[in-house]
Symmetry: C2
Subunit: 399 residues, 2 copies
Amino acid sequence: MKLSNKVEAMQFSPIRKFNPYGIKAEQEGKKVYHLNIGQPDVETPACFMEAIRNFDEKVIAYAESGGRPELLDAAIDYFKTYDVELERGDIMVTNGGSEALSMSFISLLNEGDEVLVPEPYYTNYATFALMAGGVVKPIPTTSEDGFFYADAAKIEACITPKTKAICCLEPGNPTGNCLTLDDMRVICEVAEKHDLMIIADEVYREFVYDGGTPGTFLQLPEYADRVIVVDSVSKRFSACGARIGLLISKNKEFMSGIMKIAQGRLCVSTVDQIGAAALFRLPASYYDEVKAEYCGRRDVVVEELNKIPGFSAPTPRGSFYMTCKLPVDDIEDFLMFLLTEFEDNGETVMFAPAEGFYATPGKGKDEIRIAYVLKKEDMKRGVELIRLGLEAYNKKLGK
Amino acid sequence: MKLSNKVEAMQFSPIRKFNPYGIKAEQEGKKVYHLNIGQPDVETPACFMEAIRNFDEKVIAYAESGGRPELLDAAIDYFKTYDVELERGDIMVTNGGSEALSMSFISLLNEGDEVLVPEPYYTNYATFALMAGGVVKPIPTTSEDGFFYADAAKIEACITPKTKAICCLEPGNPTGNCLTLDDMRVICEVAEKHDLMIIADEVYREFVYDGGTPGTFLQLPEYADRVIVVDSVSKRFSACGARIGLLISKNKEFMSGIMKIAQGRLCVSTVDQIGAAALFRLPASYYDEVKAEYCGRRDVVVEELNKIPGFSAPTPRGSFYMTCKLPVDDIEDFLMFLLTEFEDNGETVMFAPAEGFYATPGKGKDEIRIAYVLKKEDMKRGVELIRLGLEAYNKKLGK
């Protein structure tokens, strides 16, 4: 047996690479603060399980390949709050945002085709592109310029005859970057000029702070034919284990191709769809509460990071991640120190080394990604442990 | 925008092609007996929803990419009843058997590679192969020879340098065919000789009638390194809408490749996994009851079909499908007649034209697939309607 070139080229999740050391530290009795993964501790709204508990059909039957009508209609009503008018046929219910992404790549990419993705990026995009026989090409950005990429010249410099789409995660993971509607328009103009599709991964849509307005590429109807939006209940409703995503496009030809794949895999979980329909019916106040909670967590992280001598933390404006340089040469070595040597009152901390979010070799070696998914006191203590760990690490290195 | 060659080459489900006419007949007030799709009316065991209702974690969190431990352990215990010893690492929980199949194809096929599948076959195999950049190559069988293919010469005649795997659905859809352990050994020997993998889709494992013994390719440990088993709760537990499948292999390199894809898509539905773990804990008596029910349904179908003058129905030994010739030249034309012109006391019937299960052009034009998924009186009436429809159709044609 020989595995396919596609799978040989795939990487194991770089975020999970240090998990064995985290587990070992916990087995040794240490408490580990997990700032490394995007699994929030926010409770899933009770309506999710309530709706499922009330589901009383005797046969758990196949759902429609495109999704159950009550979920499609709930999503249609949700998008009305963004002044976006959708029909059922514009939406496909998927196994999480993940399947929406892999279906999109399979539908657009031939062998060797390229998808542009601003770097640093959510690493699984590379897996989805490889599954489709294609490859991710980074649009390089830096922490110094605030990871900004909505610049025609910057994007066009990366386009080749093989480029088929631009995939943007907005608000961003790992950067916390946000696009304005004008930024989105710039990206759409480039796509129009070069006949590319836009795959807009908007799973963090509501998580925009400091007075920023949550938006969607669907608010630009003049580019509707080029826009594919990926959505999910995972982050918005803290329901990561409910594998419900949405793939949305007004492009009928694209949606028709997607339906062929969807019929092949039959349907998405019936009970999860029942629960997700209830989530999309939550009142607007829900988003305000959750946004206030995450914004408070971010503020705690920034405040604590700024206690590191000589360090000035950035203030990311969206999602629940931030990526920043630390005054350390080799972040992976520092993380290993935290997990295998360091402790403070029996406690230590994990973050994600940012190197794994870059395709360009050598980039991100001095950067970390923090997911501010834990409650404020835990975030405060987690970042404090980074600071204390840094002191101990520098002492060890004789600095 | 241009869709990828992969998606352009995919077909819409041929089983669903006649759905609009079925829906129209129902809107016109006709009762339609659905013998066309594999959605059983058997109740899902209550333990599925009970386990989910009792699930009380406040955060519906990501599950492990490989699956929740309680489901893996329940599956391990289930396989012990087949004298098959598995470890957690031999099993990957998937989004239905569908994802297990597409993951397998993506892991094994490069652009243009071939998977052998006995024809007629479950049509979605073609979709999964195309998704992976490969293609299905049929091993031709006929209703006259009982759709038999466990013959080395027959299989070897289809092998080319591009062949990477043999994919068999056992017991079969659409044929109802069953393999003995000796048949499986013949297929394994061919795979060994030509360095192929075997993808054994065993989602109907327990549905073997007339004293046949349910079996699995996993019972041939000497070929364990070549065997990939696909399993699912959909059919066995009448839980099609619970998207829980299993991908099982003792081949560590293969499972390691699969894990890369699995990490990319994060995990499978948490609540469905909770419910599925309860299903795998059902006592052996459950399988006996369900088997007796389906066997009784099959007998009713065969008995009713044999009332068609001059017709002799085959007696399929497994799954809950049968494919047989009808004394009609053009089955699709006959089905259109049933849905748009015929009725008996306000009732009519749908089946699946078998042509869609063949890749070879022209084959199956006079064959139908019947899914015996309805209770006995409904199956009896459904097949009666086929017979009455046939009389009316022949009268219309002047025969």
